[in-house]
């Protein structure tokens, strides 16, 4: 049985409600009865080793892949930011951001969104003239301009240099405070997860193995003792550090 229920039946407070999700490739079950709820305005980070099914889950939520069982309620058309910016090279920046929007209202919305990510003076430029960080900012603007209920981030900062990545984190926090979609961030970077998320999930073998709330006291400061403790815990869960006694 497989069912994707779009838009209705979900509690209004939830951005997405995933129940008993199954996904198989041939004989191999990649996602095994996964449950996941993300509230509106909540930022959830998903950690896990390569091949644990993170990307498969994200693609299922994005509607890019079919599912073999379970149901996904809520997010009708989630917005996605991929690892690569995926800007259309033959469209100007504003046309990239306005992609899929109504022809009339699209341009002013796109201009506002570009201004929000600090590229208001580049609206008529071509993507090839942008740096990696700028291109990813445009991709963020394109995702947020359609006011999604659910925003999916597929390692969007992985290809950026460390300084640009930190600036992007700050920008993302500001943007999300304003737009408040539910967010699912797939990442390999434990520090990034702690810096951005309200809740961190660790995925293993196609299911959520454990989850942690990020202590608000840390406030995105990765040197805060509570953040440090969480970091140790997560690294242990990911098999990078030996599990701590007690």
């Amino acid at each position: 049985m497989s069912e994707i229920n779009l838009g209705h039946g979900a509690a209004e407070a939830l951005a997405v409600d995933v129940r008993a999700l199954q996904r198989r490739y041939g004989d191999r079950t990649v996602i095994k009865g996964l449950n996941l709820q993300i509230a509106r305005g909540e930022f959830v980070a998903l950690l896990g080793e390569s091949g644990c099914g993170k990307t498969t889950l994200l693609r299922a939520l994005a509607g890019l892949d079919a599912v073999d069982g379970g149901r996904i309620d809520g997010a009708r058309q989630p917005a996605v930011v991929f690892q690569e910016h995926r800007l259309i090279p033959w469209d100007s920046l504003w046309r990239n951001v306005a992609l899929g929007l109504d022809d009339k209202t699209g341009r002013p919305l796109a201009l506002a969104a570009l201004a929000e990510v600090g590229l208001g003076d580049r609206v008529d430029d071509w993507p090839r003239n942008l740096s990696g960080g700028q291109a990813q900012r445009v991709a963020l603007a394109r995702a947020l301009v359609r006011q999604p209920r659910l925003l999916l981030l597929d390692e969007p900062f992985a290809a950026l240099d460390a300084l640009t990545r930190m600036r992007m984190h700050t920008l993302v926090r500001q943007l999300l405070a304003r737009h408040r979609p539910g967010v699912l961030l797939v990442t390999h970077d434990v520090d990034e997860a702690i810096a951005l998320a309200d809740r961190i999930l660790v995925m293993r073998e196609g299911a959520i193995a454990c989850q942690y709330d990020v202590p608000h006291e840390a406030g995105g400061d990765r040197l805060h003792p509570q953040a440090q403790a969480l970091r140790q815990l997560l690294l242990a869960q990911l098999g990078v550090l030996p599990a701590l006694a007690a």
Binding site: L64, P78, V80, R86, I88, P89, L99, G100, W126
Partner: protein, 288 residues
């Protein structure tokens, strides 16, 4: 180190002898880019002058190759008589009509096959088989079907134009970045918007390469068609001239065909520059 080692295995303890270093050292440039450009033009110009000179001196018989000045005078005379313009006009008309018909069929079929595996199964093999036939081999058949009317010539041009456009359209659509198509789907684009905003623009570089090639083919088809059977057009001008051994007119028609070839290539390049301005390979100055 033992002396008996074979010379091949001998480790190179000695530095290799210095090669004649002068061969690679950079000499100060005597000629700037402008001088080189002037040289590149002066060579054909000198050839033209030599041609004129030999013709005037009588070394070249006017029956074999008339002087450039004579060809030019003939052109002026034919324009005054009105024949050259009307013949050029009817040739251009055929080329344009054939190009539009063949191009539309090639593009339409290519788009269908590029998108749909069903259409590919239905059409692609037949088109590829037809393509293997040199289209000029169909000439006798075309004359039987259409006689010496306009239809046959337009048909031949269309046939020649269709295949390069078809192939490059299919190829272009297949080569569109699947990640962009995925993005389009995530963004909720309708099929029509997906095609018009992402797929066709992405296929455009390949399609324009096809257009450029097809323009050359169109002229080739026209030259052949007009030379075999026609009563108007540049080719007929050449054939009439052959009857009366007017070598100057024959040379003139060859020059006109060449000029049109150069012009159509310039049009294709201008299209590429205009439509592919976003593309780093086609941006201003990136291509000769």
């Amino acid at each position: 180190m033992p002396e008996a080692t074979s010379p091949i295995l001998l480790p190179s303890t000695q530095a290799p002898k210095p090669v004649a270093a002068t061969a690679f050292t950079r000499r100060p440039r005597v000629l700037g880019p402008r001088a080189l450009l002037a040289m590149s033009w002066s060579a054909p110009f000198m050839l033209l002058v030599a041609w004129e000179l030999f013709a005037r001196l009588g070394a070249l018989s006017p029956q074999v190759l008339p002087a450039p000045s004579k060809v030019f005078a003939t052109a002026v005379k034919l324009i005054e008589q009105g024949r050259l313009i009307s013949d050029l006009g009817s040739s251009l008309l055929r080329a344009v009509a054939g190009f539009l018909i063949g191009g539309s069929i090639g593009f339409g079929l290519g788009t269908l096959v590029g998108f749909s595996r069903l259409a590919e199964a239905l059409f692609d093999r037949s088109v590829q088989m037809l393509r293997a036939v040199p289209f000029l081999a169909a000439l006798p058949l075309v004359i039987v079907w259409f006689g010496v009317d306009e239809g046959g010539k337009v048909f031949l041009v269309s046939l020649g134009v269709m295949f390069p456009i078809y192939i490059n359209t299919v190829l272009g659509i297949r080569q569109v970045d699947p990640k962009l198509v995925e993005l389009g789907r995530v963004t909720g684009l309708s099929n029509w918007r997906l095609i018009s905003r992402i797929v066709l623009p992405g296929a455009l570089p390949s399609i324009l390469a096809g257009v450029r090639y097809a323009l050359a083919v169109a002229w080739l088809a026209l030259v052949i068609a007009e030379t075999i059977a026609t009563n108007s057009g540049i080719g007929s001008l050449a054939m009439d001239a052959r009857e009366f051994l007017q070598t100057d007119v024959i040379v003139l028609t060859i020059v006109i065909y060449a000029g049109i070839g150069v012009a159509s290539d310039a049009i294709a390049r201008a299209l590429e520059r205009g439509l592919l301005a976003w593309h780093p390979n086609y941006a201003k100055g990136a291509r000769a």
